[in-house]
Symmetry: C2
Subunit: 190 residues, 2 copies
């Protein structure tokens, strides 16, 4: 184990602490504050441990966990882009790709490549694992807003149709959870 | 998939949101605020993805990740017990065991048993995976305090000897990281 390798790993570990400062547009349950992308990523990973039976096929849990743990790291540079802000979403991929290059680039080359591949896989949403991970990413926002009486959907005037469109990855990635999505959306939007 | 099963899983997922409100005795890097146990758990899990080469033997990454993701859930009821507060540590195990029963008990029985077993494994620190996970738990505090110029060690008047004793699991669980621990401790305590 070279010192150079460990030095880069430790630099990355310190760097990603910054994800704890990236605020999302959903609140913690109870609404006391917005949640941040680090604790959100943790929440998703625990959900993955529990909801695998709802995936659309057999999933490799380790790969799902690794994908979820790193899927938001680009937000350290690119910020969290509000899903319902069409303007901000125009250059989202460009900003996030630059961020991925810088942030994953801190790591030793092999690990940089591995984490970048996990992020790409999540973004492309083609594998069973990536579709399941994307479904959980949407489901977690739904759970938070459900327990906050509509939460940030209501605060930002998001419509029922916009929410359903946003939740679409759940239909493909975890189809058995779709009835629950409809139930929550009906409860919030009446 | 019974509704009863999903209902319990979703109740658990909502319940554990509370881990985002449990404050630890270490600060985020920069010192703006204390970190919480949810984002701490995320940080540890990413570290596990990167530092496996430093473990004391081959580790099953999936099990390490699952262990780290749930290892602090008992703090929802029992709170974070400051490692250097001998008084609070007297009844720590009793408080945490009660918490484990209530919190993991929300889940369907099979998942309740599985998560409880992961928590027990972490606490007992006998397997290679649990020793590695415990080493990372200590290392993360070291990284935070290192980047905060001694951070909460200095604020709470913790001594060099106390820190080294606290870091001991790194020597057994990730021995190749021990020289780094000594380097950081020397840097902080001079």
């Amino acid at each position: 184990m070279s010192n150079e390798r460990l030095t880069r790993q430790l630099a990355f570990i310190a760097e990603i602490d910054a994800l704890k400062k990236v605020e999302r547009r959903t609140s913690v349950i109870g609404g006391a504050r917005l949640e941040n992308s680090a604790e959100h990523s943790w929440h998703l990973a625990v959900m993955a441990m529990l909801l695998g039976d709802h995936a659309n096929g057999d999933v490799d849990l380790e790969r799902v966990l690794c994908m979820l743990l790193v899927h938001d790291l680009v937000e350290i540079d690119a910020g969290d882009t509000f899903a319902f802000d069409a303007g901000a979403n125009v250059d989202k991929m460009e900003r996030e790709t630059r961020a991925a290059e810088r942030i994953f680039g801190i790591l030793p080359d092999d690990q940089s490549t591995r984490l970048r591949a996990l992020w790409d896989e999540f973004e492309e949403a083609q594998t069973v694992e990536a579709r399941f991970a994307n479904a959980l990413d949407r489901l977690q926002g739904l759970v938070q807003n459900h327990h906050n009486g509509g939460g940030t959907w209501v605060q930002h005037g998001v419509t029922r149709a916009q929410v359903l469109e946003r939740m679409e990855p759940i239909r493909t990635g975890a189809p058995r959870l779709w009835p629950h999505v409809l139930e929550v959306v009906d409860g919030v939007f009446g």
